[in-house]
Symmetry: C2
Subunit: 153 residues, 2 copies
DNA sequence: CTGACTGCAAAATCTTTGCAAAGAC
DNA sequence: GTCTTTGCAAAGATTTTGCAGTCAG
C-alpha cells in the first residue's frame, strides 16, 4: 500500500504512539497542527498554519512558538517535511507521502511536486561515487509555471 | 574555453564594465569582496567574507551591510552564486565556474561539488514535461562525508 | 501530583534599510 | 559638483528561548 493514502486516523494513532514512546504528551495544539497539515495537502509556512488554526478554531489558545516547536517535532519524526526558501523561511507539507521533489514558480510562489526515478537512482550513484553517506537530498527546480507564462504573454 | 579558468583580471574587467554600464561605481569594497571570493574558491557566508577582508586588509573601512549589498549585486550579475542553509543563512561561491551541484556534510558543514550530466538532462526533461520555464535548479545531497564517517567509526 | 507543554514576550539570527558623511567620476 | 556608495545603527523578518502558569497522564 502506498504511503500516500494513509488515513488521518492512522496518522493520528501513529502520532500518539510516537508521543507516548517518547514520554511526550498528546495535546490539542499538537493534534490541530498535524490535522491542518494532513487535511490541506499543500505547502505552508509556520505562520500559515498558525493563522489557519486561529481561523478554524478561534477558541483554542495557540502561540506561534508552539507551531514551531511542533513542526520541529513532526519533522524529526518524519511526519512532515519542509522546503526552504532562504530568508523567506520554510514551508511544511505532510511527510508520509511518497518521496518527491519540487518545481517552484518564482512568480506566483506555487509549488508542484514530481517524482523521477532516474534522478533518484542517479543521486544514489553520486553519493556512492563520493563515499558520501546520504541522509537526505533535495532538488528544487525554480522557474515560471505554465499559468504564469500564459499571464505574461 | 571553459569558464572556470577565467583569470582574475578578466573577472575584474567584467565587473568594472558591468558597473559602468549600470551607472554604478567601482569602489575598493566592491573589488575586495569579489577578489576574496575569486581567490578563495570555496563557500562563504557574508560574515566569513566580512571577516576575511577585515583580517587581510585591516585598514579598509567595511560594514557588513556593504557585503550583503555587494553580494546581491554580484549574484544578480551571476558573478557569484549562493547555496541556502535555511535559517542558517546562505553561502556564496564564485559564480563563473561550470554549473555544478553540492554534497553537504551535516557533521562538518563541508561542501563538495559535483556535476552529473544525467541529472542535468533529466531536469530539463522534467521542466518540459510540466511546461515549466526553468530559470534555475538546485540539488543538494545532505549526508555524512567520508572523513566524518571515519571519525565516527 | 509531577513533569511536560503552553503562551507570552524577550532574545537571538540573519538581513535590510534610513541617513548623513565620504567617495567616484 | 552630482549622484552613488558607505558605515553605522536601527529596524525587519523569522525562529528560538526563558519562564511562570496550565494541563495531561
Amino acid at each position: 500500500m502506498p504511503n500516500n493514502i494513509v488515513t488521518y486516523s492512522e496518522v493520528l494513532e501513529n502520532f500518539k504512539s510516537l508521543l507516548k514512546s517518547n514520554g511526550l504528551k498528546y495535546t490539542k495544539q499538537r493534534e490541530l497542527i498535524l490535522e491542518i497539515i494532513y487535511n490541506n495537502h499543500g505547502h505552508f509556512t509556520p505562520e500559515d498554519i498558525y493563522n489557519l488554526i486561529k481561523e478554524s478554531y478561534p477558541t483554542v489558545k495557540l502561540g506561534i512558538a508552539t507551531v514551531y516547536r511542533t513542526l520541529t517535532l513532526l519533522e524529526d519524526a518524519q511526519m512532515v517535511s519542509s522546503i526552504s526558501f532562504g530568508t523567506q523561511g520554510k514551508k511544511y507539507e505532510f511527510g508520509l507521502k511518497d518521496h518527491h521533489d519540487h518545481l517552484v514558480c518564482q512568480e506566483c510562489g506555487g509549488i508542484e511536486e514530481f517524482f523521477d526515478e532516474t534522478i533518484e537512482k542517479q543521486q544514489e550513484e553520486i553519493a556512492k561515487k563520493y563515499n558520501f553517506k546520504m541522509t537526505n537530498h533535495i532538488m528544487k527546480i525554480t522557474g515560471i509555471c505554465e499559468a504564469c507564462q500564459a499571464k505574461q504573454a
